[in-house]
Symmetry: C2
Subunit: 246 residues, 2 copies
């Protein structure tokens, strides 16, 4: 009886450890989302102070990454997790690396916002960049949601959305080049714009990675470097195989 | 006696597993180094075929990443490593993420080399880029060496070298902007040059990360997001504390 209650206790506190990791990753994701919103606002409102202030909040993101990593290592060393539990820990450790990089790119966007605040704004008022940020923002939100609910289908949707982000980034780069060639006075501004677009494109990539980790966590399949079509058919095959098991 | 030989056997095969991971990471590092050398050659010799061919070898790098990750997860699930052994596995999983990203950036440099092969070369023949690639190449080699020998001191030296890479990258960006402003006909070429320099700067960052993982593996200290000065004093303090233990 004593052994049983001890094992129940261990199992309960282990579940609590795992839920704790899952929550910490989502809290870190929330911090990164907030930081991203501020960077976007700093560009839209030409607010250089807001842009430069992002470095401060990025420190919190970095601290969280180290804290979660430490907690994951503690669980690995003391609980020796296997199967699904191990997948959660591995996915968490990989996800926070991508979140930390999103934080870094967001900090760069903040710095670019500060520089863009000092230049003459184009007649479009950076509308093309606003569309791109809008898409990336949606991707981050939906990826964290897919991670929270371990929702494979939603993770796949976010991965598809990254294709739109890549296309928009390419369009902005081409347009900037055209502007620069037409009017060399725009070179400095358009270069900054290109860097900001590039940072957004990379945030899209990291968000896509988070979806890959969420799918691995929920489904046990490592889908990195696979085409989306092959991933979808593999996952649907595996799901129907599971359903036929009595 | 039977139990003892079984435990010896387990411990021997566990050590083999760990040494296997260490070697696989270094093999993957070797592949990435080769890929980098080809990208650099493609720029220097305006060889577009060589540049575009890098995508093929990047597939091998990606496959290795997935293979090593799988092997690490197998060891975590079946061996429940702790202490130094766990540090090796965690450091390996993080290092291969950075190696894979170096592979990605190198693939991009290959594509840029293919495009740069078609433009009129500047009188400098991209000398400034050659200096930067030379530094980054040295960083990759030394970082892999520090990982191989678990050499904290060398890892710290590589991290210091990244500061030079950052400075050179900034200098190239400024120079490119000047060229574009002086002669708008150079805009397309200088933009490509900037992207290549940026990719090199990022490779420097990933190489620095590898050094952080090597230090964590060898020393057990998570030095991410710390200043180099504080890291050096922390490590030297910890080392002298160890020496005074009888």
């Amino acid at each position: 009886m004593e052994v049983e209650s001890l094992s129940q206790h261990t199992s309960r506190s282990f579940s609590k450890d795992l839920a704790g990791i899952h929550n910490l990753v989502l809290t870190m994701g929330g911090l990164v989302e907030e930081q991203f919103d501020r960077a976007v606002k700093a560009i839209a409102e030409a607010d250089s102070e807001l842009g430069l202030g992002i470095a401060e909040s990025d420190r919190h993101v970095n601290e969280m990454e180290m804290r979660i990593d430490e907690e994951c290592r503690r669980i690995l060393a003391t609980r020796a997790p296997a199967a699904r539990d191990l997948r959660l820990i591995v996915a968490a450790m990989k996800t926070i690396t991508d979140l930390e990089r999103i934080g870094d790119e967001t900090e760069k966007i903040g710095q670019l916002a500060a520089r863009l605040a000092t230049v003459k704004r184009p007649s479009t008022n950076f509308r093309e960049l606003r569309n791109l940020t809008h898409h990336v923002k949606g991707m981050i939100r939906d990826a964290l949601d897919a991670f929270a609910r371990m929702d494979v289908q939603q993770a796949l949707e976010v991965m598809k959305a990254d294709e739109i982000v890549d296309e928009e980034y390419e369009a902005i780069s081409r347009q900037s080049l055209t502007f620069m060639l037409e009017d060399p006075r725009t070179i400095t501004r358009e270069m900054e714009l290109c860097w900001a677009a590039r940072a957004l494109e990379r945030i899209g990539d990291h968000t896509k990675n988070i979806c890959e980790h969420a799918i691995y966590m929920a489904h046990g399949t490592d889908i990195r470097h696979s085409s989306l079509t092959s991933v979808e058919s593999e996952i649907s095959l595996a799901s129907s195989a599971r359903q036929t098991i009595p």
